[in-house]
């Protein structure tokens, strides 16, 4: 066993840290940032930053060099992801979805033409995909989706409604799941498409989230034409492709790093502030609680490191990704809750308020953490996966 990074990896971490610090514009440090909090301004900053990252091959570091990647190994990618989040760089859920979900699926199932068309542009930060999975009646039970794609000539005609589509109003393409043969049983009736968001017939309606930001959208498809060539992989094979996509490396180290950032925040606050004439850091209850959070972060980080390590050995993760996701996301809630307790009255001050602490990061995280563990498969579903795939418990 060796829990250390190699000297070369440590040097890489330093390089990333230095580069990121220099590359983040000052304005970013003044905005309320974090997942599901994008504004027009923060989105623009993010996109520019991601192009800069792309030009170094660091936006999609896992991609082959010919598609704009850096051909970085698993461990360095882990370090890169960890540092980007820990330095609070302008990379968000859109990067994860576009680069790691859609891009990886395209690499595995896409045609040569599709790879050529999209991968390099993804890696350069030129295009962003939103997800078209959930529907009003297909949440955890995604197999119940009803959006239809009917083949007609050289096109598919799409009709239906998607919901919870984060940043769809900014996205260039939609990574859409639609039923292509309703006669077939669920799980064998769906195909994946790349749909250009500029297509006529697409209407976007904003949904304001609990933080008060416009990130979610309802997206309506009314007789939307998409070329037959935009179907990815094999027709009616979408479910299989989706299931396979679960196996793509996803360490989830970003959540662990985000947690660490919040921990630093509360530690600093506790060291510098008094309540009832006593430094918060000297309060035994708060010390105990903060220590517990630090320990949990260590556990979370190990669960994420394990995934990168498994892949670096040429293996595949089974239930481990779900495990890291559940643990990390729920930890974000516990940490935000603990942070709010440390901040006391000040915790409730929203961004823009006088005396709000650190751009009200804790307050925003407290609310935003509600949605963690809901998007991308609820933690209940993830736990089912751990139990069935990891431990072999029966489905019925």
């Amino acid at each position: 066993m060796d829990f250390r990074f190699t000297a070369e990896e440590e040097a890489f971490r330093k390089e990333v840290q230095a580069w990121v610090k220099a590359a983040i514009p000052q304005r970013w440090r003044e905005l309320p940032t974090g997942f599901w909090q994008e504004t027009d301004e923060s989105w623009q900053i993010s996109r520019q930053f991601q192009k800069k990252l792309g030009s170094r091959g660091w936006l999609a570091p896992a991609y082959p060099v010919e598609y704009g990647g850096a051909g970085l190994g698993h461990i360095k990618r882990l370090i890169l992801a960890e540092e980007l989040t820990y330095q609070d760089a302008p990379v968000g859920i859109e990067t994860e979805i576009t680069v790691n979900w859609v891009g990886m699926a395209l690499q595995h199932f896409g045609s040569e033409q599709q790879k050529k068309d999209y991968l390099t542009r993804i890696a350069k930060g030129d295009i962003v995909f939103c997800l078209g999975y959930s529907e009003p009646n297909a949440g955890s039970d995604l197999a119940s989706l009803q959006t239809r794609a009917v083949e007609k000539g050289d096109d598919y005609i799409i009709n239906g409604q998607k919901i919870w589509c984060s940043y769809a109003h900014f996205a260039d393409y939609c990574w859409l799941g639609a039923v292509t043969d309703p006669e077939l049983p669920k799980h064998r009736n769906m195909s994946m498409f790349v749909v250009d968001m500029k297509n006529p017939g697409i209407t976007i309606r904003p949904l304001i989230n609990a933080i008060g930001c416009h990130s979610f959208n309802e997206v309506f498809f009314d007789e939307v034409h998409t070329p037959a060539a935009s179907l990815v992989g094999v027709k009616n094979n979408g479910w299989f492709q989706l299931a396979m996509a679960l196996d793509f490396e996803r360490s989830g180290v970003q959540t662990a790093a985000a947690n660490k950032l919040l921990l630093d925040h509360m530690v600093n606050y506790a060291k510098a502030n008094k309540r009832g004439g006593k430094l918060l850091s000297k309060d035994p209850i708060l010390r105990n609680m903060i220590a517990e959070m630090a320990i949990e972060i260590e556990v979370a980080r190990m669960l994420c490191y394990r995934i990168a390590w498994i892949y670096s050995k040429g293996g595949h993760s089974n239930y481990e990704s779900s495990q890291a996701m559940v643990f990390g996301s729920e930890l974000l809630r516990r940490i935000s809750d603990a942070g709010m307790r440390v901040l006391g009255q000040y915790g409730q001050l929203a961004y823009g308020s006088q005396r709000a602490v650190e751009r009200a990061a804790m307050c925003r995280s407290y609310i935003a953490s509600l949605s963690i563990g809901v998007g991308g498969g609820t933690n209940e579903i993830q736990r089912n996966i751990i139990a069935m795939r990891g431990l072999g418990l029966p489905r019925k």
Partner: protein
């Protein structure tokens, strides 16, 4: 709303307290290791103590064991709140008295039994010297009680009972089994099960002891081999037993040793006030204080639920959902009280009763093991949550 006890209730509380202090069996409360919520350290499930029998008879004479029953059946004409006060105090002082016959079987007979059944059994229960054991679970029917396979076939005026029951706390010291068995194998379980009373002395019953993790023999496996039970012992209508069983289970879930929780908490509180670690009283340690405050809050919640159920009974409301709620809350409290107590007492906590240095007679160590049974017996916490979600909140079963 009025959260005060009224004058009559206060007077009754004082009367009961006086009785208890006078009649308390010497040394009994010190020896008895019962843990509130648990099933595995109840002295009365292990041995039959003549002194306890006599004490129960004294309570019976005062009409206290069945005080809230209608007068014509030997009840004391008192309210359920008063009964709750009585049991609160009994459990606070570690006095025996709470019992299957008066709290589970008796009320079920009163509700569903024929007049003949009532006249035969109720007077004996009122006196306080008839002990029942619960013959519900089977090896393959635990949470899923509908899966029971023990059967009772009609033969003239008798039922012929065959099958096996398990757990049956205190079966070996009881007089009668309070049993469910299939009486119509063709019908679905909830339409083909009957509830009846079976005399422990009937030929064909054999028992095998099961020792629980506290080292107590409270559990039993009980085998029925062509056991004859008079048909008149059937409670209510034949084949309706599953329905009665659900009600009997609610009665069981309402049996809470409220005073026991308070007493053990007070013990712990006093311990922290009298014990120093690193020169400092434990009661001055912020983390200890936080744990105690949390427990005190949860005990208060349990206390309110406890009296709410009694108040409901007094107002002719049957606390069906509340039975599951209070069962869930107090059994989790049983675990938390033991767990927090163990954490507070540190190294000493692990000392078992009998060890010279065992704090609070080692009760918390026993409770720590025993509370495992609390969240399992009378329907696991998972079953209670299902009931709360389905019956209580109307969430669909499928």
């Amino acid at each position: 709303m009025d959260f005060h006890f009224n004058e009559a209730e206060k007077k009754f509380r004082a009367e009961v307290e006086e009785f208890i202090l006078e009649e308390m069996l010497p040394g009994y409360a010190d020896k008895d290791l019962y843990w509130p919520g648990g099933y595995g350290a109840i002295g009365e499930f292990e041995v039959r103590d003549p002194a306890v029998e006599k004490l129960r008879e004294k309570m019976g004479e005062r009409g206290w064991l069945t005080m809230a029953w209608p007068k014509e059946y030997g009840g004391g004409g008192r309210s359920f709140v008063e009964q709750a006060i009585f049991f609160e105090l009994l459990s606070y002082y570690g006095m025996p008295g709470m019992d299957v016959s008066t709290l589970i079987s008796g009320p079920t007979i009163l509700r569903f039994g024929s007049e003949e059944l009532k006249s035969e059994w109720i007077p004996r229960i009122v006196k306080g010297n008839l002990k029942f054991w619960l013959a519900y679970s089977e090896p393959n029917a635990g949470s899923d009680l509908a899966a029971i396979q023990a059967r009772a076939d009609i033969d003239g005026d008798d039922l012929i009972v065959n099958g096996q029951k398990i757990w049956g706390s205190g079966a070996h010291v009881a007089d009668c089994g309070w049993m469910v068995a299939r009486t119509d194998m063709a019908a679905p379980p909830y339409k083909g099960t009957s509830l009846f009373i079976v005399d422990n002395k009937s030929p064909g019953i054999t028992m095998r002891p099961i020792v629980n993790i506290n080292g107590f023999h409270s559990f039993n496996e009980v085998f029925f081999d062509n056991v004859r039970v008079p048909k008149k012992n059937v409670v209510g209508d034949m084949n309706m037993g599953f329905y009665y069983l659900m009600v009997a289970l609610d009665f069981e879930r309402l049996v809470i040793s409220m005073g026991g929780f308070r007493r053990r908490f007070e013990d712990l509180l006093n311990y922290t006030r009298n014990t120093r670690r690193n020169g400092k009283l434990l009661s001055e340690d912020a983390r200890v204080r936080a744990k105690l405050a949390q427990l005190a809050t949860e005990i208060e919640i349990a206390f309110l639920l406890y009296y709410k159920t009694a108040w409901m009974m007094d107002n002719n409301l049957f606390p069906n959902i509340e039975a599951s709620e209070i069962k869930l809350v107090t059994t989790l409290l049983s675990r938390k009280l033991a767990d927090a107590g163990m954490e507070i007492m540190g190294q000493q906590a692990q000392l078992w009763p009998g060890s010279r240095h065992a704090p609070l007679s080692g009760r918390f160590a026993v409770g720590y093991l025993d509370s495992i049974s609390a969240v399992i017996g009378a329907g696991t916490s998972e079953i209670q949550r299902n009931i709360l979600a389905q019956r209580g909140l109307g969430l669909k079963r499928k």
